[in-house]
Assembly symmetry: C2
Homo-oligomer: 260 residues x 2
């Protein structure tokens, strides 16, 4: 879990100008324009002066260490968070202490949209590695979208895609079998790493088998067995959290009729 140097290298390139601030909040001269995640993030599609104005959105960033949360279920909703670097899980807590992982988030993705409807967050967002988020005060976003139709469109798209993503998870949970679920999960991760400029066939998992299992509706032992099966079939190689996809076509075949 510490071999993330390469992963962070790109995201850190923007070199924010920091000024002291209380706690782990850092005031920055924000530069969406120079952030290499801008094509995945909210300003995507904005140009010229619109893009410049959109930078008003983010005036603080927050650094989080592994295990820290950006917000807890039950917290009042104030801001959205754009994930600048790192890796998060979103979880629902059950009364008996167990948790259901509802999402894994990586760079460029938006966290916190579950809070808009009720004003209270229904999930918790936990950093699975040291991470940095751009804080987007929702009031500010609302204000800016009035002047910037492009930003409004973009924000609606981000929410809509979250709905569609969840449809995909529902399909996975509702009709796929264990190995199909894991294959779908790995291919999804692969594709998302690839979109961010990392290898699509060689990456480190940030989460435990138990967290994968929670997300996929399986027990950790079942996840482990499926990993072993794929390795026996030479579709992937597994060394703890280090995954290498050896046969992407074969993995897709393992998804049965659900492939992509």
């Amino acid at each position: 879990m510490t071999t993330t140097i390469e992963i962070h290298a790109r995201a850190e390139a923007a070199m924010p100008l920091r000024t002291p601030a209380p706690g782990n909040v850092t005031k920055v001269a924000t530069r969406c324009a120079s952030c290499n995640l801008r094509e995945l993030c909210l300003p995507c599609g904005l140009t010229g002066s619109d893009a410049t104005r959109a930078e008003e959105l983010v005036y603080t960033r927050r650094r989080l260490k592994r295990g820290e949360t950006v917000y807890h279920a039950g917290d009042p909703f104030i801001s959205l968070y754009a994930l600048r670097s790192g890796f998060f899980k979103a979880t629902l807590m059950l009364d008996d202490g167990r948790e259901q992982v509802t999402a894994f988030h990586m760079g460029g993705e938006m966290l916190g949209m579950d809070g808009i409807g009720t004003g209270i967050h229904s999930t918790s967002a936990v950093a699975l590695e040291d991470s940095e988020v751009c804080v987007i005060p929702y009031a500010k976003l609302q204000e800016l979208t009035r002047d910037l139709p492009g930003l409004q469109t973009q924000f609606h798209k981000v929410m809509s895609r979250e709905i569609v993503r969840e449809h995909g998870v529902m399909l996975l949970l509702g009709s796929m079998r264990a190995e199909e679920r894991l294959a779908a999960f790995l291919l999804n991760l692969s594709q998302r790493f690839n979109a961010r400029g990392y290898s699509k066939s060689d990456f480190n998992l940030r989460m435990t088998r138990e967290e994968i299992g929670s997300y996929l509706g399986l027990k950790l032992e079942t996840v482990s067995r499926a990993f072993s099966k794929f390795q026996d079939e030479e579709l992937i190689s597994v060394q703890q959290k280090h995954i290498r996809i050896l046969d992407a076509v074969g993995l897709k075949a393992a998804m049965g009729q659900y492939y992509n």
Copy 2:
């Protein structure tokens, strides 16, 4: 499935002024203000002139017979639809012809938000009984939300709540057992009927066992057995699609630690 007279009675009360239109599209003098679903629908929370202007959103309605679809997966996204009366399912189609039901919709709920992100609908919306929807052209909605911050807020809330609803389904599919799932499903329906002024303990299902199963990630036989079990335990009475909840507390208990 034809005993829906009472159900429709309220929604029909608004008595639209119709003018002839091609196909099943009807131009109406729309009156969100007099629609009894307004507290559940998009104009919720708007007052005075804002509420009046919001009525510009809807200038057509569409009537659908049972089995007809408002939009198919793959259709270009143009409009959102507010369900005025009736009952819908939203489905994902698999390559092999099977379907996954991702939602059941009733009066006041918004359909079609899955299309915003990509410009293409990813689900199909099928009427499970004769229904009527208000057509909300998305371009018009975008335009109006610029002038009406309240409408914008409201729309964001509607999308956010859809995300949260799907979290709930993920929890259900990921960690509940068959009977817990059915109990959760029945209690959810009960609560939604209640919110619309109908009995919370006596209602007709609009969908088949197979559709319930698809939504809950179960086979129709398992759904049927769970119904029978609940009936044996005198938690509910089942006569085909007619459900009576006899012991809501017991049903909640059947949800285990997930109740509510």
